[in-house]
Symmetry: C2
Subunit: 130 residues, 2 copies
């Protein structure tokens, strides 16, 4: 359907928040400000941390903070951290192995379209969300 998942949507909101505020914010704080499910947001931030976009501090007075400058975090990175298989079509991303090759010739143009979209995503950074 060519639509971002809620995970990405919430992830962007959280990153935007961290960028705006600077310093450390808790899951609770963000989930309440944006009316996002606490548990769901918690997992999203864990994934962003796992990917090195943000850093975490445990215990009381803990929370999350950006590890990179807002202008060096682009959407490609965020989507990559939050979704398994990105890619417009099966044949447009990695190694194809499509059994329809021979009759179907849309693979090459889809690859190209994928590259164009990736470029569009990578041109948008968290800094622009502030």
């Amino acid at each position: 359907m060519l639509r971002f998942s809620k995970r990405v949507e919430y992830g962007l909101m959280a990153l935007q928040h961290l960028a705006k505020r600077g310093g450390v914010s808790t899951v609770r704080e963000i989930s309440e400000e944006y009316k996002i499910s606490y548990d769901l947001l918690a997992k999203i931030l864990q994934d962003l941390k796992r990917d090195g976009l943000i850093d975490s501090y445990q215990g009381v007075r803990g929370g999350y903070a950006l590890m990179l400058t807002p202008d060096s975090i682009n959407l490609t990175r965020v989507v990559g951290a939050l979704e398994e298989d990105s890619g417009i079509m099966d044949c447009a991303s990695g190694a194809s192995g499509c059994d329809r090759s021979g009759t179907c010739s849309i693979e090459a143009p889809m690859h190209k379209l994928q590259a164009t979209i990736d470029k569009a995503l990578s041109s948008v950074t968290v800094a622009q969300l502030m």
Copy 2:
């Protein structure tokens, strides 16, 4: 997930086929050549017809044929004919009405990204799939 549905994927294959062959092809012919479910493809072609991309001929010796030249059918048009709500996010497409405005500021940049992607889609035509 930023991925095309099977409906769009199959629709593009069918259009590519019609463009390559020229003239009239039946659902059966296309579904067998590309190993696509007959019933599913039938509905897809009906939708493409409803949107004026292709024309239909009923009865024996009937089938479907392009109504436009391949280079005048772009992906935006195909996606529009085959999917209900396109749009990268709820707030990125039509009238927003997002209840998070005030705290969330991603709407404007998402609108812009949406426009970029739309442009990318509209730049790819069926002619390029041949």
